[in-house]
């Protein structure tokens, strides 16, 4: 068969076109595609075309030991892997009734917030690039890389850390790590104003992003939008606050919101979340030295680990929104079923399809990046 990209469709004489947008397109975040129906450059209809990154994670997990899946899960969302590991671990811990030591919980929160910072910086970069402002991307990616250096120091891996096990974390933090992290935070803090000058106050961006992909709060709720995209419509919902996990209830942070619900608002929420993440991390740096104890509760021999039968649904606020893991065990050495609910599975498909209608072709990329859609989460 011919790949449908090459199915030449002859329309009756009109200026309606069908266009395959992606998967190989710089405006697309990741490996993802749209079938767009255009009138001129107005989008009449957009249909998401996913599956380019499909690996059948949920099937693979059923074939691997509980602990082996730890290496698998971070791959589900490449730009923001830490929440994946931790969410899976939380689900398994709930099943196995494992008590995670407090120190481990703090270290986990540290990873989550670092990962959030990195992911947001990355998303700016993307969005800026879609408006032709590459220097923002260069800055964002370079600063993200500094965070990755800290990840590398902590976990031994730059992007995929594979640092969390059900029951805790795999290593304790290195000597003098927190101070180095503190320096990094100071640096990032000082950079924020640069970003404002370069990007958030940049009229090129502001004028293009405002009133783009507008979504009212009702629509957002109806479409199952979560995370910064939901908060950009004025609803201060955050899993960290409303369904607390780990030690977030001991941490002090705000939930930034915006009212407009357009691409600009979504970016401003992320911009504000950078500050909040830095704030949280500073609290952790202050607290962590006083929290002693083990970094992992004793777990059985991984080769013979049978998690008690049952099911659990764990939720984590990833940088993209609400991330959920539904894990079912039949008391065996492998999961019976793992279902991953990626936030982008809403944003990248339904929401994007809806928001794209009426937009102009060149704005689809912007909308996609402003929603921070992560294709591998959709495909799994």
């Amino acid at each position: 068969m011919r790949p449908e990209n090459y199915q030449a469709v002859n329309h009756p004489p009109s200026n309606e076109f069908e266009l395959n947008f992606g998967p190989n397109h710089p405006g697309i975040e990741g490996n993802y595609a749209f079938k767009v129906k255009l009138n001129g450059d107005r989008v009449l209809e957009a249909k998401a075309d996913a599956g380019y990154l499909h690996r059948g994670f949920e099937k693979l997990m059923e074939g691997r030991l509980w602990i082996q899946n730890i290496a698998l899960v971070p791959r589900i969302c490449v730009p923001d892997p830490a929440p994946m590991e931790i969410c899976y671990s939380l689900a398994v811990e709930e099943l196995g009734g494992l008590e995670v030591p407090e120190r481990a919980q703090w270290i986990r929160v540290m990873q989550l917030e670092m990962s959030r910072l990195a992911a947001h910086l990355f998303t700016f970069g993307g969005h800026a690039a879609t408006t032709g402002m590459y220097s923002t991307m260069f800055w964002g990616v370079a600063d993200r890389d500094l965070i990755l250096d800290r990840f590398e120091e902590l976990t031994g891996g730059r992007v995929y850390s594979i640092f969390n096990l059900p029951g805790g974390v795999r290593r304790d933090i290195p000597e003098g790590y927190l101070s180095r992290l503190g320096d990094l935070l100071d640096y990032l803090d000082s950079r924020l104003t640069d970003y404002d000058d370069l990007f958030f106050r940049n009229q090129v961006f502001v004028k293009r992003a405002r009133d783009l992909g507008v979504m009212s709060q009702e629509q957002a709720l109806k479409w199952g939008v979560t995370g910064p995209n939901l908060r950009a419509t004025g609803l201060p919902f955050d899993v960290r606050r409303d369904d607390p996990y780990l030690v977030y209830d001991q941490l002090d942070f705000d939930i930034p919101t915006e009212q407009a619900g357009d691409a600009l608002a979504r970016n401003l929420v992320r911009r504000a979340e950078l500050q909040q993440s830095i704030r949280i991390l500073r609290q952790i740096i202050a607290q962590l030295p006083h929290i002693k104890g083990p970094i992992r509760c004793p777990i059985p021999n991984p080769l013979a680990w049978q998690v008690p039968a049952g099911d659990s649904y764990a939720r984590v606020e990833s940088s993209k929104g609400e991330l959920g893991y539904y894990v079912v065990s039949t008391g065996g050495e492998k999961p019976y079923r793992v279902h991953v609910r990626g936030p982008s599975s809403m944003h990248a498909v339904q929401v994007l399809e809806n928001l794209a209608v009426g937009a102009r072709l060149e704005d689809i990329a912007q909308i996609m990046f402003s929603l921070d859609a992560c294709p591998p989460e959709v495909d799994r």
Binding site: H54, K222, T226, R337, H339
Partner: protein, 183 residues
């Protein structure tokens, strides 16, 4: 808040027969309900307690019981609790009702479950293939589909012959246990 929730749950218990409610943790509630009663339950939850956010629909293939288990995770922004509504449908023919009219996000999950498990949801806006457009095997998430076996039938793997291995084999050594052997 939790008190209000309890009263709500009691009222639900009253209105639907054979429904089992079980509070797992402070914010997690498990509800088991018959397949025909589920939409009503969700409607009540959405209408009465503001469970307007469908977090996910999970499908579990209980191949031995010849059943699919559908789990609807709904979240209420008001009561801040997550209700997981479990229901079971027969594996054959594997047809169920869509809840798209209640929750629009259901469209994605139902479509996903359809192509991964082969469960058909009547009334779902789009049951076409989405992720597996170029896959013409059985629904892969079904338990009877053995991915590893499929791979060994359809793919060859790299057969390395590095020099050190050849030398070892010349000296009577060589690979004794391949990873496939212990699986």
């Amino acid at each position: 808040m939790t008190k209000a929730l309890d009263t709500l749950l009691d009222s639900l218990l009253g209105e639907l027969e054979n429904i089992r409610v079980q509070r797992v943790t402070q914010r997690r509630i498990r509800v088991d309900v018959d397949a025909d009663a589920l939409p009503t339950l969700l409607e009540l939850l959405q209408g009465r307690a503001g469970y307007i956010h469908l977090s996910a629909i999970s499908c579990v293939d209980w191949v031995d019981e010849l059943q699919f288990e559908l789990v609807y995770h709904v979240w209420s922004y008001e009561t801040r609790t997550l209700i997981s509504a479990h229901t079971r449908i027969p594996r054959e023919p594997g047809v169920y009702i869509s809840i798209y009219d209640l929750y629009q996000p259901a469209a994605f999950f139902e479509r996903d479950i359809h192509e991964m498990f082969g469960v058909y949801f009547e009334g779902s806006p789009n049951m076409e293939k989405f992720i597996l457009t170029e896959w013409n095997g059985p629904p892969p998430m079904r338990k009877e589909f053995d991915s590893e076996q499929f791979v060994h039938q359809h793919f060859e793997f790299e057969n390395y012959q590095p020099d050190w291995l050849r030398e070892l084999e010349a000296r009577g050594g060589g690979i004794t246990k391949r990873p496939e052997d212990i699986r």
